[in-house]
Amino acid sequence: MPETPMIAPMIAIDRVNKFYGIYKALSDVSLDIVAGEFFSLLGPSGCGKTTLLRSIAGFDSPSSGDIRIDGQSAIGVPPNLRPTNMVFQSYAIFPHLNVEENVAYGLKRLKLGADEERRRVGAALDQVRLGHLGKRRGHELSGGQRQRVALARALVLRPKVLLLDEPLSALDKKLREEMQVELRSLQKAVGITFVLVTHDQYEALALSDRIAVMFGGRIAQVATPKEIYQRPRTKLVADFLGGMNFLSGRTIGQTGAGLTVETEKFGTLTLAMPEERIEVGARATLGIRPERLRLLWDDERAPHELTGKVVDRAYFGETTHLSVGVEGLEKPLSMIETNTYGADDLPVGADIRLAYDPDAFVLLADDPPVERVQ
């Protein structure tokens, strides 16, 4: 997926700011979302992702900047005139209407005629596998069914963009995972641009074509799930998406597109130059994912090794999370080991050896401080 799409974007967010009193909810946000893309806005609560989604829907208006949907500026356009539809966090199923009437709600205004309307409602309900529950009322449905009604109600209008505000957060874990699969295949089937807001990093990784990670009203990184996970740009992004061991080092030289960094225990590493240039001689933060550290058993050897001592462990069924203290490092390293070889039997205090791959390190930029407007 290219960083800047060549085709005209479905949604173009152009230097959008949003202030709530002294609080800056969105800070100079620019973003392009391609037609047909499954795009996620990911971040902790209060990071501005919902404000951004509601600005696309028309429920919030930016203090400055422009939002274009399919080439047309949406500033000043009320929600009912935008080619977007939304699935609300609470689903917002109309309690006085049954499932069919809920789905037909938006169609009523289009005056399609009874037959065409019934056909489209039926098709939309079949699409979310609710064809048999058309006469039920909202309070007679389970959480998953309510969510499907909300999906059908929005999709039946064939919007250019479907906006989803934490649609899975109210469901329990098992149902949530089922719905993730369904949401993904539904999006592929209808081909509509989906914009999902979530604070669940695994949900974003599993569903999205691309993800924008947000902190403090700013976009920290926009990339594919794999890139976000493997090449996080900043410390916060790295920390928010799974575990990360942070190390400090000092840049000592530059070779072509690479940067040589001297570290405490991991020797001298040559890393790809990040987007923001780092001066030679500056302090640098590096990260390595816990699963990229590997336990060495018995007399197994690796080109890059460290020795340490298990200081803590937690059993997770298929894996064990280990904290390994290494002499000369400030903080213990976290590791994730599959339990195939018996990592779950390692006692606290055991001496171990671990292997690392020098290519698995990433250079991380500092995050800007959260801004407050006076």
Partner: protein
């Protein structure tokens, strides 16, 4: 400990029985004597008759008072519900300075001695140079009914999920269409319930009506006036019975409507949990 509980549990049903007897026996006597073929309210009963009910129809004064009560009741229920809708929506929807104070002041007449409210209203009305009429009764009772309407309406509006209105807008409906197709139907049970509660309270409200009604009595004021004449007592009993039945009927409808609406909302809490 155990024996104490046992004794308590044996005494409790008896106590509850006595309690209800004390509370409802006098009220039950009302319909009983209203069908009694005698002008005095003494046992033994003299036989069954409906003549007191029939005589009500011929009683022009009573019918005028009944029409007055109906007019006042309708006006009060509509007025206090309208005011209640505005206030309840503001209080449940928006956060503003003085929100709690406003709510407290609206609810205060519920706890103020009614006679004090009546006397002060009378003073204001007279000082303003207004004639005592049904209009003054309507204004006084509206103040008095508003807290009841508010408590019914705020309960109804608090269950109203704002995203329902947003969803309607999002699905292409206009602001007015949203009000007509979503807001109104969803809060309709609370509004209906509020109308019925206000009407019922107005129907048997005496003190304010007595102070503010001038020469146009409402039913309770008319009844009070008739009690001076022993011969009129059976007619009053018949009238009282009709009002009793009407009040119970209206309050039952109001409560049923309110509960049905509440059940509809009960599941939304689940989705959030």
């Amino acid at each position: 400990m155990t024996s104490g509980n046992l004794r308590k549990s044996r005494l409790l049903p008896g106590y509850v029985g006595l309690y209800f007897l004390f509370l409802y026996l006098p009220i039950l006597l009302l319909p009983v004597f209203s069908f009694n073929n005698a002008a005095t309210t003494t046992f033994p009963l003299a036989g069954f008759t409906t003549r007191w009910y029939v005589s009500l129809w011929a009683n022009r004064e009573m019918l005028t008072a009944a029409v007055n009560s109906l007019v006042v009741g309708l006006c009060v229920s509509v007025l206090s519900t309208l005011l209640g809708i505005c206030a309840a929506r503001a209080i449940t929807r928006y956060r503003f300075r003085g929100r709690r104070a406003a709510n407290g002041l609206i609810m205060a007449p519920l706890f103020l001695p009614e006679i004090i409210v009546a006397v002060s209203l009378l003073m204001v009305v007279l000082a303003a140079g207004m004639e005592l009429s049904l209009a003054t009764v309507i204004l006084g009772q509206t103040v008095f009914c508003l807290p009841y309407c508010m408590s019914v309406l705020t309960a109804g509006f608090e269950g109203f999920d704002r995203s329902l209105e947003e969803a309607s807008l999002d699905l292409g409906e206009t602001a007015f269409g949203t009000f007509r197709r979503v807001t109104l139907p969803v809060v309709a049970p609370a509004i209906l319930s509020s109308l019925l509660v206000a009407f019922t309270i107005s129907l048997d409200e005496f003190i304010l009506a007595f102070f503010l009604s001038g020469t146009e009595p409402t039913l309770p004021v008319y009844i009070w006036g008739q009690l001076r004449f022993a011969a009129k007592l059976p007619g009053v009993l018949a009238l009282g019975t009709i009002m009793l039945v009407l009040s119970i009927l209206l309050l039952t409808i109001a409560e049923t409507v309110r509960r049905r609406a509440e059940r509809r909302y009960a599941t939304r809490g689940h989705a959030h949990a």
